[in-house]
């Protein structure tokens, strides 16, 4: 399902252009609105759809194997930290799902530089180990042929 953009809804904000991992959402020079420049390089990750506040980006099933008429819409809310999916079948069947996306506030991760630094030494411990393993020490084996 490559993505496309509804001309009437796009404000040209650029959020989708900014996020696409495939670098295929670009602005149309004339209209200054976004569009998918390379649908056959679209992985249908829906990151452009999720990021568009105006619901201007949508998907249409891949022409080579998805019959017309089905749809998937998604609303990702990073304040409530939920994602809502609405799936509509070709025959009209509907499915609705909601899942959590994060248990903490966005931006709340403590930087690694704010933890006290251990001695680098010769040990095999990575940052915050062994505490973060919740076992007493980092296991090892001897490098001798069995």
């Amino acid at each position: 399902m490559p993505t496309f953009v509804y001309a009437s809804k796009c404000s040209g904000c650029g959020d989708c252009v900014d996020i696409c991992p495939s670098d295929i959402i670009h602005f149309d020079r004339k209209s200054r609105k976004a569009y998918n420049i390379e649908p056959d390089a679209c992985w249908e990750c829906l990151n452009c759809v999720k990021v568009c506040g105006r619901q201007a980006v949508d998907v249409r099933g891949y022409a080579d194997f998805v019959p017309m008429g089905a749809s998937i819409t998604v609303v990702r809310d990073d304040r409530k930290n939920t994602i809502e999916w609405n799936i509509s079948y070709r025959n009209g069947t509907r499915k609705k799902f909601s899942f959590p996306i994060r248990t903490t506030e966005w931006g709340s991760i403590k930087p690694p530089s704010e933890y006290p630094q251990a001695e680098m030494g010769k040990t095999e411990e990575l940052s915050l180990e062994p505490e973060k393993l919740y076992i007493n020490s980092v296991p090892s084996i001897k490098g001798e042929k069995n």
């Binding site: 990750c45 829906l46 017309m68 899942f99 690694p112 076992i135 090892s140 084996i141």
Partner: protein, 618 residues
């Protein structure tokens, strides 16, 4: 063309799972150094986890005595038919739990069972609500790195006068700015390779492969041209997935316990077990180990498909109920949304009917159920006694996860012979590489890079050549993309995919090849390389991105073919078979195949290295 030079202490190429792990760990051990991460997309949603995931596939659970690293090494070795680096796999396993506990703390929603333990999908996997997995991990990396350059593609690594790592060059894929990153330490974590074989999807759907379109083989292309010793490039693999949408099968098989059968309702593996045992049992009895190695299960499905008793079905209708329906759908919506749309478009009700499963086109990867990548040094406490002076044939040369090139480190899909890392293990390997990279940096603080400016100038000219060529030749034709003097990236890619599919064991040739076919592939790849050098054309910077991705894919493909030619046996029959060497041969071939490319002479040196078993086999 505008140019920018960036001086770094540690340069990280690729901000996926491994790259983000590297940024985190480098900052922890080195508070004042300039840590620069370069990403061709946007770190918030880049790499194989851009869409999200519904499971973390590598978690020991040592705190609850669920698993041991030794058990993991045994499992992984069976799955790869006896060929892995025990030291590298053990190393990831012993550290991976601390990575997952960090993810939990950062806010990744991990499902729990009734005891409050992480909900197991299978013995090694745990279930997550992972739509925002990458965005969360990226937040940690952004708090660690000094600078992140999004939308900058790295095209080549730079070495200094002493043949040591000196940085990388690349360009801004939006405005074309030329970038030179100067750095004594480079960590390559640029992911695996899709689209090197003709995908089963076609035309508008061609972007729907299992591994993402943007997995451009850059890690391999960069490492190969830098002269790093590569390993196990022949072990490129295919994954059994829901047909067309490439929906994942893990949760359906392991957690929901859905069975796969042929069209007659029979278990393919049971039907062919005897035959498989005869050819592929080796000394370790692969046909009887539990769980059955992935490639042997794929093989039995292929045998049924070939016999005309397909399709292979996943019996969702026998396990899916109103109670667990949500779990099944979330599995797709978190990581392969198109499968949900295939069901909706084709009116498939998974509670009433089964769905087809089909092995995919092959991919090159170092983090999944296979092990392509650079040959790297292992951890000191395990591997230091396994050194013989020749890096390309040793397990240790001073710095964990350093490639055979001084100052060049690898992690995730870029690190070979270290399979089954998946998302958590790739992040962990990035951490491992970064800690030892910091050590390297400290040990070499008095050395100065000697970079030849004329080399950089030449690299710059070379980088933009496809655009120059287009501007020179565009008025020769009236319109369109058919020209006697230009080859666009999509034309070159189609040629690569066709020859790999037909000669190097793609799905179109039933994953089967031979010396004759591989030599044909090699001949055509050489011509494709020449054509790239003489005809590659790009109209704009987006096309230039695709053009250099093609170059990395071509080098990856060449390495694959060279390695496949060298290994005279069939080691992973579900991934590919050799018609001229149809059986597994443990006496001759339980070895790593390693290679080194000389980019000046354009020649390959290929050799084998013995497998050393460090963990007692149970």
């Amino acid at each position: 063309m505008k140019s920018k030079t960036v001086d770094c202490d540690i340069l990280i190429v690729g901000g996926g799972m491994a790259g983000c792990g590297a940024a985190w760990e480098a900052r922890y051990w080195s508070r004042n150094s300039r840590i620069v991460l370069v990403e061709k997309a946007n770190v918030d949603r880049s790499g194989a986890v851009a869409m999200g995931l519904s499971a973390i596939n590598t978690y020991m659970g040592m705190r609850w005595d669920e698993n041991t690293p030794e058990g993991f090494v045994n499992y992984v070795k069976n799955d790869l038919m006896g060929i892995i680096r025990d030291d590298l796999v053990y190393d990831v396993a012993r550290h991976v739990d601390s990575t997952v506990h960090l993810f939990d703390e950062w806010g990744l929603p991990i499902m729990r069972d009734k005891n409050g333990h992480y909900l197991r999908e299978g013995k090694w996997q745990i279930m997550i609500h992972g739509e925002s997995y990458k965005a969360i991990v990226a937040e940690a990396a952004k708090k660690a790195a000094s600078e992140i350059y999004n939308r900058v593609m790295i095209t080549r690594l730079i070495k200094d006068a002493n043949n040591k790592m000196a940085g990388a060059v690349g360009f801004d894929v939006r405005d074309g700015t030329f970038y030179v990153f100067k750095s004594k330490v480079v960590i390559v974590s640029a992911g695996g390779a899709s689209q090197i074989y003709r995908p089963r999807s076609s035309r508008e759907g061609a972007g729907r492969t299992w591994y993402p379109h943007w997995a451009s083989g850059s890690a391999y292309g960069l490492l190969i041209e830098a002269g790093a010793t590569m390993t196990m490039m022949e072990a490129r693999f295919s994954v059994p997935r829901y047909k067309d949408g490439y929906g994942p099968v893990g949760a359906w098989q392991l957690l929901l316990k859905a069975k796969q059968t042929n069209a007659l309702g029979q278990d393919s593996f049971e039907l062919h077990k005897e035959e498989i045992r005869k050819l592929f049992n080796g000394k370790m009895g692969y046909a009887d180990v539990v769980p059955t190695p992935t490639n042997l299960r794929v093989l039995s499905s292929l045998m049924e498909l070939k016999a005309g008793r397909g399709p292979i079905y996943m019996h969702t209708e026998k396990v899916l109920t109103r109670e667990n329906e949500e779990l099944g759908w979330e599995d797709f919506l978190d990581m392969t949304i198109s499968q949900a749309l295939v069901w909706a478009g084709q009116n498939v009700d998974p509670m009433k009917e089964p769905s087809e499963i089909l092995p995919s086109e092959p991919y090159a990867m170092g983090s999944h159920a296979t092990e392509n990548g650079a040959w790297a040094s292992g951890p000191e406490d395990i591997s230091s006694s396994l050194s013989n002076g020749d890096r390309s044939k040793s397990y240790f040369w001073g710095y964990n996860r350093m490639s055979t090139v001084d100052g060049l480190f690898v992690a995730g899909d870029a690190c070979g012979a270290s399979p089954h890392k998946f998302s958590s293990g790739s992040f962990t390997e990035g951490r491992i590489a970064a800690k030892s990279a910091v050590k390297y940096l400290m040990d070499h603080s008095d050395e100065h890079l000697q970079i030849d400016n004329s080399t950089i100038e030449r690299m710059k000219l070379n980088l933009y050549e496809p655009i120059e060529r287009y501007n020179k030749n565009k008025y020769e034709i009236t319109a369109g993309k058919v020209s006697p003097d230009m080859m666009w990236y999509d034309q070159g890619l189609a040629r690569l995919q066709k020859l790999m599919d037909e000669y190097a064991a793609g799905w179109g040739s039933w994953y089967t090849t031979s010396d004759v076919m591989l030599n044909n592939a090699l001949k055509l790849i050489k011509m494709l390389k020449e054509d790239f050098v003489n005809y590659a054309a790009a109209e704009n910077y987006h096309q230039l991105l695709r053009t250099w991705e093609l170059w990395h894919r071509i080098l990856t493909a060449e390495a694959i073919v060279v390695h496949m030619l060298y290994r005279k046996e069939t080691r992973w029959p579900g991934y590919y078979s050799r018609s001229d060497f149809p059986a597994l041969d443990d006496d001759g071939w339980r070895v790593f195949v390693n290679s080194r490319y000389d980019s000046k002479a354009q020649s390959w040196e290929v050799f084998s290295v013995p497998v050393i078993d460090l963990v007692v086999r149970k």
